[in-house]
């Protein structure tokens, strides 16, 4: 075990995978200079070691700014023997490669009757909350959840980032990772050995009996803080992080709501057609009879992200919103209805 940042954990998983399998390559803009800090080779960004020195330019591919071409090349490479990790830097740039991601990466295996497999990982970071303005603040994972054929991970801790990314790289299906940039600096003890966290297995960060909170990406930490505050009021909150959205661990969510009878879903994406709506709909269909109160979503509004610090901060779910929502649905039913 050693202390790793979220970013360092991503670097570590990439390094392990590069060492373990010669077919793994890294391809993307500015990966050679380690601009985004995950191709430096170490546990943290500062640590010595440089991927180009370690693996050479044959496997570390610094690309032109051509997202569509890059993703297409990775798709073709994945179908013919390589296992590319594509570094797309910001999630806002995925749209540039949307045709390749949806029409080729997601569809080829199915369309060709299973002849192809597509072992590729497409990494990108969601830079919300950092005053980067509307062009650099997207959190578009829900769009990709609507495209069958892709798998999606949204880790919220360094350990999860390392273990899930390793699984993603070793997997034979295409995976999109969405890394919350505000978590990059988060540190914790992480296993130095190789380990793999399975997809489709949620992590229950905290058990509780009154309310289930399903939280995604950075919202997990807001939810945990809210749970701590609510505990002092005698409200027992269960906090679940699905960790992967495709596949989604429905069982864990449904079992929890069956127990608590109340659900709040928190995520940083836009509200309409987001992951929170999906989880709400699953619950409203499958464990309706256990529900004691409305299902509340706490999300970013259906608004683009403004630049000014005085405008941006109100755009994402925070602890206070979560606390308020939980209080509301744990009031006695009568009060709630009257409220």
């Amino acid at each position: 075990m050693s202390v790793m940042s979220f970013l360092g954990a991503i670097g570590a998983a990439q390094k392990e995978a590069m060492d373990a399998d010669e077919r793994v390559i890294i391809i993307g803009e500015d990966v050679e200079a380690n601009v985004y800090g995950t191709t430096g080779g170490g546990k943290t960004r500062q640590e010595t070691g440089d991927f180009v020195q370690m693996y050479g330019r044959n496997r570390i591919r610094n690309t032109p700014i051509s997202e569509e071409g890059i993703v297409g090349a990775a798709a073709g490479a994945a179908m013919t023997g390589l296992r590319p990790i594509v570094d797309l830097s910001y999630s806002s740039f995925l749209y540039m490669a949307m045709d390749q991601l949806v029409n080729q990466v997601a569809k080829n295996r199915y369309m060709f009757g299973g002849q192809a497999s597509m072992p590729a990982v497409f990494r990108s970071a969601m830079f919300y909350g950092l005053n980067t303005g509307a062009h650099h603040s997207d959190r578009p994972y829900p769009m990709f959840m609507n495209a069958p054929g892709l798998k999606i991970m949204v880790p919220s801790t360094p350990s999860d980032a390392k273990g899930l990314l390793r699984t993603a790289i070793d997997m034979n299906d295409p995976v999109l990772t969405f890394e919350a940039c505000i978590l990059w600096g988060l540190k914790e003890e992480v296993n130095d050995d190789e380990f793999w966290i399975p997809f489709g297995v949620a992590r229950t960060h905290r058990e509780g009996t009154d309310v289930t909170i399903v939280a995604i990406s950075s919202s997990v930490h807001e939810a945990l803080a809210a749970a701590t505050e609510l505990e002092t009021e005698g409200i027992s909150v269960e906090v679940i992080d699905p960790r992967t959205l495709v596949p989604l661990d429905k069982r864990a969510i449904l079992n929890s709501v069956a127990k608590t009878g109340r659900l709040v879903v928190v995520e940083p994406a836009h509200r309409t057609c987001g992951a929170a709506g999906e989880i709400s709909a699953i619950v409203a269909e499958e464990v309706f009879d256990s529900l004691k109160a409305p299902i509340i979503r706490i999300t970013a509004p259906d608004m683009q992200i403004p630049f000014s610090p005085s405008l941006e901060k109100q755009m994402y779910p925070n602890k206070q919103d979560i606390v308020a929502a939980v209080r509301k649905i744990t009031q006695k039913d009568k009060e709630r209805v009257l409220a």
Partner: protein, 328 residues
């Protein structure tokens, strides 16, 4: 000048005949409702297709587009599973899940035809990247049309493969129309000449009905690629005899009436048959026999397909991922 041996020439004619016979049959089947949806035939473009695929080795890769049957046939894919795919049968090369637009036969290096114009171009580049990283000597070729030549991803691919010296050939099948749109009305400059700005060779084969001319140009590019000298763009001028897709009826006459007539006089199958007789000394009877053989092959392919069962509905829920079936 790269050329073909006598046996290779016969094989080339065999493949051209296969494409023609297969597509003519498919056209009829669409019109009679025996093939669902539609198909895009390569009738008239056989020399361009086979001239290119004959220049590739068995292990070389290829990606293609909606005008899709000629490419795998040219690369040596057996006809039965292709026809079964067109009909949506369980024995189809993609188990009936792809259809005409999405033929793929990985056994012959066919990485898939694409219904999205331009979208499969970087796929071939990726296959070339695999070859380079893994130290294989395979090359990859991307087929696309004059219409697709206006999709930006082609230039991203030319640039990236140029920088990395990837063994890939960009083969533009310029049949002078994109659906109802004449190429000259939507193409500024000359497609082949676009290569120069990306630091790679650009060749224009003016007579794409001449199989040997196409073979020569593509062979040169393939050898170059195999030597590690990087990509090439080849534009082949050709013509499709049929409508954009079978069964399509447009109100407008976007092609001059006499244009098709003129191109019919340069039918690549007739031209190459004459070459085989006059230059290679085959007899007309031998050529007739070859043609009959191919018709029988297509009959057999259709019979194979007709006798094949429909895929079980459960197949529709398989193969999305490698590790799990769909669980609703």
């Amino acid at each position: 000048m790269a050329t073909l041996s006598r046996e290779q020439k016969i094989e080339a004619q065999r493949r051209m005949l296969r494409i023609r016979a297969f597509d003519e049959r498919a056209s009829k089947m669409v019109k009679r409702g025996h093939i669902p949806g539609t198909v895009h035939t390569s009738i008239g473009q056989e020399a361009q297709v086979v001239g290119a695929t004959m220049a590739l080795g068995e292990k070389d890769y290829m990606s293609g587009n909606h005008r899709s049957h000629g490419h795998p046939i040219g690369k040596g894919s057996p006809l039965g599973p292709l026809m079964a795919e067109l009909q949506g049968k369980s024995t189809g090369v993609c188990q009936g899940k792809g259809g005409s637009l999405h033929l793929a036969d990985f056994n012959v290096g066919s990485l898939g035809e694409s219904g999205i114009v331009g979208s499969s171009i970087p796929i071939a580049m990726g296959a070339a990247l695999s070859s380079q990283v893994l130290g294989r000597d395979t090359v990859a070729l991307a087929f696309f049309g004059d219409g697709a030549a206006n999709q930006g991803v082609l230039y991203e691919s030319m640039n990236m493969s140029g920088v990395w010296n990837l063994p890939v050939i960009f083969l533009c099948e310029n049949n002078q129309y994109a659906l109802s749109t004449p190429a000259h009305t939507v193409t500024s400059g000359v497609i082949a000449e676009r290569a120069a700005g990306f630091g790679i060779p650009g060749i224009r084969v003016e007579d794409g009905q001449d199989l040997l001319a196409v073979f020569d140009a593509v062979s040169t590019a393939v050898e170059r690629a195999r030597r590690g000298e990087g990509p090439s763009l080849i534009e082949v001028v050709t013509y499709r005899y049929n409508e954009h897709s079978e069964g399509l009826r447009l109100g407008t006459d976007y092609r001059p009436a006499d244009e098709r007539e003129a191109w019919l006089k340069k039918d690549p199958l007739v031209l190459f048959r004459e070459h085989l007789i006059s230059v290679e000394g085959f007899s007309a009877e031998e050529m007739d026999a070859l043609e009959a053989e191919i018709l029988a092959e297509v009959d057999a392919a259709v019979a194979f397909s007709e006798n094949s069962p429909w895929p079980d509905p459960s197949v529709g829920f398989k193969d999305l991922y490698t590790d799990s079936e769909y669980a609703a």
